[in-house]
Structure formats: C-alpha cells, structure tokens
C-alpha cells in the first residue's frame, strides 16, 4: 500500500526552504550599482545595450545603493574613492554581492606601485566574483555575472555574511588604509 510519510519539518528546514525560494528570485533579478572609477567601465555599455543585452538575464542598472543587489567595482580604487565605496557598500540592503572588474581590484594592476591606490579590494570589502583582465572582454564580464548566479544557486556567494562574521578584520584593514572610517548619517543629524 502506498502511503506518503509526513515528517514534521524543523524550523531550520523551513528557513532553508524559504531561503532557496528567495535565492531563485534573487539570482534571476540582479540589479547593479555601477561604481565606475576605472577604464573597465567602458566594457559595460556593450554589455547593457543590444550587443550582449544584460536585461535578458534580468539584470539592470539601478540608481541608488538601497535598491541594488550587486556592487560592481570597475577598476582601481584610490584612497578617496575607497572611503565612498565602503559607505556605499554598507548602505546596500542584504543580501548583497560584490563583483570586482579588472586586474586592478585583484592585485592593483598597472597601478600596483602607486601610493594613492589600494591593491587588493577583498581586504576592505568581501568580493564574491572577480573578472580578471586588463581590461576584461565583454564576454568575460557577462560570464562573470553568470558565474555569480551559479554561486548564488549553490549558496557560495556569502560575502555579505563574511562581512558580518569577520567585521573586526575588515574594519581594521579599512582603518589601516584610511585612518578613520565613520559612517555619517548626514540627513538625520
């Protein structure tokens, strides 16, 4: 006789199921905030417009950090822009992902010996996907986004959780580079 066994799901199981459903929506509708400081930004217009059409993957540019899911850091970061990048990253609503574009975010690229530029981005904010190259091809940029979707599906895009867990380490690195990182809430002061 066929019978269906009902087992009571624990709270962790229920949470995991909901999280998987949420992950389906999150990976099919990734909105980006483009932080274009370097020359790699020139690869984004062909990725967005009719040549490669990012929108067919459900992706699109967004105007403010609150609305965005991905922080796209393209190119080198000077110490001044790093401070703004950290403000921006902390304003984004979770779950949030970071994509580093070009070799400048990996090891400093051609600016590795400049005194005004940081070399490794993932010492200051957690990076989920790197797209290597100087500058990366547009196919490589699109492939990076598809990789990020795969990482979200396999639950490996956990940079934002890492930022909570190892917050002291990130904060120490930020302080070492910038001196002081204070998040101003200018509108409510």
């Amino acid at each position: 006789m066929l019978s269906t066994k009902f087992t009571v799901m624990t709270k962790e199981d229920v949470d995991r199921k909901w999280w998987e459903i949420g992950d389906f929506f999150r990976r099919n509708s990734l909105w980006m905030l483009m932080y274009c400081t370097g020359c790699c930004a020139i690869e984004l217009p062909p990725a967005m417009t009719s040549a490669y059409d990012m929108e067919r993957l459900g992706m699109g540019p967004m105007a403010t950090p609150r609305q965005a899911d991905i922080l796209l850091v393209s190119g080198y970061l000077s110490l001044k822009t790093l401070r703004r990048l950290i403000y921006t990253y902390e304003q984004m609503s979770e779950p949030k992902y970071v994509v580093g574009l070009g070799s400048c975010t990996i090891n400093g690229g051609i600016y590795h010996d400049s005194h005004a530029v940081i070399n490794q981005l993932n010492q200051y904010i957690p990076v989920d996907v790197y797209v290597a190259g100087c500058m990366p091809n547009t196919e490589a940029v699109m492939n990076g986004f598809v990789d990020l979707m795969g990482l979200i599906k396999t639950k490996k895009a956990n940079g934002w959780k890492d930022y909570h867990e190892r917050n002291e380490w990130y904060k120490a690195n930020q302080k070492f580079a910038l001196g002081e990182v204070k998040i101003h809430d200018e509108f409510h002061e």
Binding site: N28, S50, R56, G58, T64
Partner: protein
C-alpha cells in the same frame, strides 16, 4: 457587503496580475524597439518577489507607515474600478470623482513616506511629481467634464455603456482633439518618457524612490502596478468605450499600454518647467476648443 469588499479586493488583485504581466511583455516590446532580446515576460514578478525577499532598513515610522498608506490607498481605489460594464464591485459607486479623490490618498502616502526619509533628492522628486500632476490634471479634467456633460452621467461604467449603446461610438473618435489630450495626459499620469521628470534616474537618482530598498520598494512596486492599472482602465472606459466582456477589456488595455510604451521609448526627457509649459499650452488649448465645439456648437462626430 462582505462579498462586495472581497470582490473589490479581487479586482485590485486582478489589476496587479494583469498590469504586471502586461508590463513584463512591454519590457520585451521596448527591447525589440532597441534591437535587444529583452527579459522574460514574467521578469516583473521576479523583481517584485525578490524585493520582498530582501532585508530593508527603515528611516523612522513615517517612512514605513507612508508606504503602507500608499499601498492601502491604491488598493482601496482599485476596488471601485469597473472591469466590464457589469463587473463592478460597488454598484453605483464607480463615479469618476471617487477615483480622482481616492488616488490622491496613495500619492500623498508615498509623498509623506519619501519626505520622511530625509533625502533631499526624494523631496525634489515628490515636488516634481506634484507639479506634473498639477500640469496634466487641468486639460484632462476639462475633457472629462466635457464627456460628463455630453453623457449626463459621471459614473465610469455609465459612460462606457453610453458609448456602447451609441454603436461603439468611442469618445476617442467622437471627440478627436479630446482623445489626443487624453493620450498626452495619460502619458503624464503614467510618467512615461517625455514626462518622466520626477523619476529621472540619472539626474535625481529615481526621485521619490531614492531611499527605498528591499521590502518597502517591493510594496511601492506593487502600488505602482495597481496605479497604472487604475489610470489605463480609466482611459479605456472613458475614451475607448469600456468593454462588453473581460477578454475585450484585456485586449484594449494591452493595446493602450503598449502604444504608450512604444511612443515613450523614442523620446527624451523634458525638464520640469517644460512639462508644465507644454501641458498648459497645447493640450489646454485643444481641451478648451474641444469643450467649446462639443458643448456650445454641438459638433460631435
């Protein structure tokens, strides 16, 4: 009474599903205009449910309460909307002025919430939205009052039935100048491209929505879809003769929204003073001329 309320909520839900689907298909249409492939047709649903699944910050209780007030006010407005001439949740309460008054509740809720975030760009966006509203309401009202004068009723389904009984003599064709004014005002209401001034993503960072993220933004998206449903169905009922059955309504709705989107996809953006000047110049002249011709001279095609 309870059945009526349930039916009204059903109308609002129908409007949400219809408009979200039509908007998703329209993203594909606009993509084809721009020689792209375009997203999936259900992309708008994915976006909304993704936003509802995210965590969100708050900027004080006015910020949260305004969002709920906006969504509630718009659902309350949509409850009165007739779908066909017989399918009305509250019989005899589908007056045109009810929509004009109630839609303001949702708009003001959003304005209050956006101002509560404290971001100056949000205040600029709200101010521009209200200015745009002031601009398109005047010519639109003149045309609608002309229609009310001609039909002798201000009930939306009554106006639709009047056009059907006159042998599908739509006011879009019977009052040609008024029809053009109606299309232009509808584009202003929906915030389509030439009149997109209060969203302006590259200029004031999406205006009133600048501080929203996660769940609040998801609720605002739902509110926006239902608002579009109310405005486009008002146009369908007032100018295109309503609909005898629900299939005809969906077809007319889809055609109106797609046509507006195609027009909007080839335009740039006006400045806010250009929007006001535009609406107070040509649409207003056309609306007054149409009212004069139709009411005093009695020339209706």
């Amino acid at each position: 009474m309870i059945l009526n309320i349930l039916f009204g909520v059903g109308v609002a839900f129908f409007g949400f599903v219809l408009q979200t689907t039509v908007a998703g298909v329209n993203r594909k249409v606009v993509a084809r205009v721009q020689k792209r492939y375009g997203p999936k047709w259900y992309q708008e649903f994915l976006d909304i449910f993704k936003l509802l699944s995210k965590r969100a910050t708050t900027h004080g209780w006015i910020f949260d309460f305004g969002v709920i007030m906006a969504l509630g006010g718009i659902i309350g407005t949509a409850m009165f909307m007739p779908i066909t001439s017989d399918l009305v949740a509250f019989e005899n309460f589908d007056n045109f002025f009810i929509f004009v008054y109630l839609i303001a509740v949702g708009m003001l809720g959003m304005a209050m919430s956006a101002s509560g975030s404290g971001n100056p760009l949000a205040s600029i966006g709200v101010m521009r939205a209200l200015t745009t509203m002031l601009a398109y309401e005047v010519p639109f009202m003149i045309v609608v009052i002309t229609i009310i004068k001609l039909t002798g009723t201000s009930s939306v389904s009554g106006i639709a039935e009047f056009q059907q009984l006159a042998g599908n003599n739509w006011f879009m064709i019977a009052l040609p100048l008024g029809g053009i004014v109606g299309v232009m005002s509808l584009m202003g209401m929906l915030g389509k491209k030439p009149f997109e001034t209060y969203i302006a993503p590259a200029e004031i960072a999406s205006g009133p929505m600048v501080e929203y993220g996660g769940k609040q933004l998801g609720m605002l998206f739902i509110m926006h879809e239902i608002t579009v449903f109310i405005e486009v169905s008002l146009f369908v009922h007032l100018f295109l003769g309503g609909a005898e059955n629900i299939l005809l309504f969906i077809v007319k709705y889809f055609l109106v929204y797609t046509a507006l989107n195609i027009i909007s996809s080839v335009y740039g953006r006006f400045k806010i003073d250009q929007v006001v000047l535009f609406f107070y110049k040509w649409p207003l002249i056309m609306a007054v001329t149409q009212a004069f011709i139709a009411i005093y001279l009695g020339w209706v095609i």
